[in-house]
């Protein structure tokens, strides 16, 4: 059995996605157990991406085929099921992204391979692979073992590994694409840019994020007034968009926008990782939540444990006096 680690590179429109470098950082660490780290790159006219990826692994397995220009899980699975069965890597890493969620379960099933999804860490201990996962909205962690097999598949939550600069010099190996015929039951059609809203929350220096703690949309004016007083814009977590209280262009998080304001005030937001992914890089984070155990307090710099309907009016009053 090899100890090789494979990282399935993720790219879009010719740009390597950040998750790839996070996976390569973890892959490098795991490969120190006696294996080699390989980046598996499926795409078309991959030269520029290869140059970018070279410092991060021992080898790049390059599958260059026009059918692989844009992501299509069906094509990817056809290529990877052949490759993984032939090369038999110890661990194959993918991102817990739209890409990985689409591809990994089906691929692992085809290969009859143990698969751990949405992991935040991976460890090899005496030939066994263990992963760490967060469950119940991040309030509980679990250690998961994968049953013995020739290879394992793990998808990793974006943002859980800090990427490091690469210092390697990958040897590039061209792999002939096994794809022969076009598939007609699933095709990539086009990228659609998200519509621009009336406010660009990504450019604001102060963002007030609201969550389901707001309870109902009739409470929105309270938050709009506060956001205005503090010189910020109103944003939200996904439940607020799902409830139809604010439009999608206000959503912060992994399925919304990423903001990096000077100040982010999270009001009535529990701190699910999907939301945190989109705001954790703010310079200063304030959380206001009535649940003292809300995960948002582990991300925030300052916290107020209290009822937002009492805190916000008083805070608004104080802010107006200071400004």
């Amino acid at each position: 059995m090899t100890k090789d680690i494979f990282v399935i590179a993720e790219h879009r429109r010719g740009e390597i996605r950040d998750i790839t470098f996070e996976l390569l950082t973890k892959g490098y660490e795991l490969s120190k157990d006696g294996g080699r780290l390989h980046t598996v790159l499926l795409g078309f006219q991959n030269e520029k991406m290869i140059d970018e990826l070279k410092p991060f692994s021992d080898g790049i397995l390059n599958i260059d085929d026009e059918k692989l220009k844009d992501f299509n899980a069906e094509y990817y699975q056809m290529v990877l099921s052949n490759l993984l069965q032939e090369k038999k890597p110890f661990i194959t890493l993918l991102g817990q992204t739209a890409f990985g969620i689409d591809l990994a379960p089906s691929l692992a099933t085809e290969l009859n391979m143990p698969y751990a999804a949405d992991c935040i860490d991976i460890e090899i201990d005496k030939e066994r692979v263990y992963t760490e996962k967060q469950i119940y909205g991040g309030k509980i962690s679990s250690r998961v073992s994968l049953v013995e097999n020739w290879g394992y598949m793990v998808s990793v939550r974006p943002g859980s590994i800090a990427p490091k600069e690469g210092e390697l010099k990958a040897e590039v190996t061209a792999i002939t694409s096994p794809l022969k015929e076009e598939i007609d039951y699933r095709r990539f059609v086009q990228y659609i840019e998200a519509a621009k809203g009336e406010v660009d929350i990504t450019q604001a220096e102060v963002v007030v994020g609201i969550g389901r703690g707001l309870k109902e949309d009739k409470n929105l004016p309270l938050m709009e007034e506060f956001a205005k007083s503090i010189g910020g814009v109103l944003a939200c977590s996904r439940p607020v968009v799902d409830a139809g209280w604010l439009s999608k262009d206000r959503q912060v998080g992994s399925s919304g926008k990423t903001v990096k304001p000077k100040l982010y005030i999270a009001v009535g937001i529990s701190g699910a990782f999907q939301h945190v992914m989109g705001m954790k890089s703010a310079d200063t984070i304030v959380a206001i939540n009535k649940d003292p155990n809300a995960p948002i307090f582990t991300v925030a710099d300052y916290g107020i444990v209290g009822d937002l309907f009492q805190v916000i009016p008083k805070l608004n009053e104080k802010v107006l006096k200071v400004k």
């Binding site: 391979m113 143990p114 698969y115 751990a116 263990y130 967060q134 469950i135 991040g138 309030k139 509980i140 962690s141 679990s142 250690r143 998961v144 073992s145 994968l146 049953v147 097999n149 102060v206 503090i230 000077k262 100040l263 200063t284 984070i285 304030v286 959380a287 003292p292 307090f297 582990t298 991300v299 925030a300 710099d301 300052y302 916290g303 107020i304 444990v305 209290g306 009492q310 805190v311 008083k314 805070l315 009053e317 104080k318 802010v319 006096k321 200071v322 400004k323």
Partner: protein, 44 residues
């Protein structure tokens, strides 16, 4: 269970990491404290 390929070995509370500085006091007091902090950081 036949076919099971992963197993939860243990469940535990995540180790305490970074924690916000929780402002203590009544609504009036914590609102005042937060304003002072934000003012001190040039955010107000």
């Amino acid at each position: 269970m036949e076919g099971m390929k992963t197993e939860i070995v243990k469940m535990y509370y995540p180790p305490a990491g970074k924690m916000a500085e929780i402002l203590e006091g009544g609504v009036e007091e914590v609102s005042g404290k937060l304003c002072e902090i934000l003012k001190g950081k040039g955010l107000l």
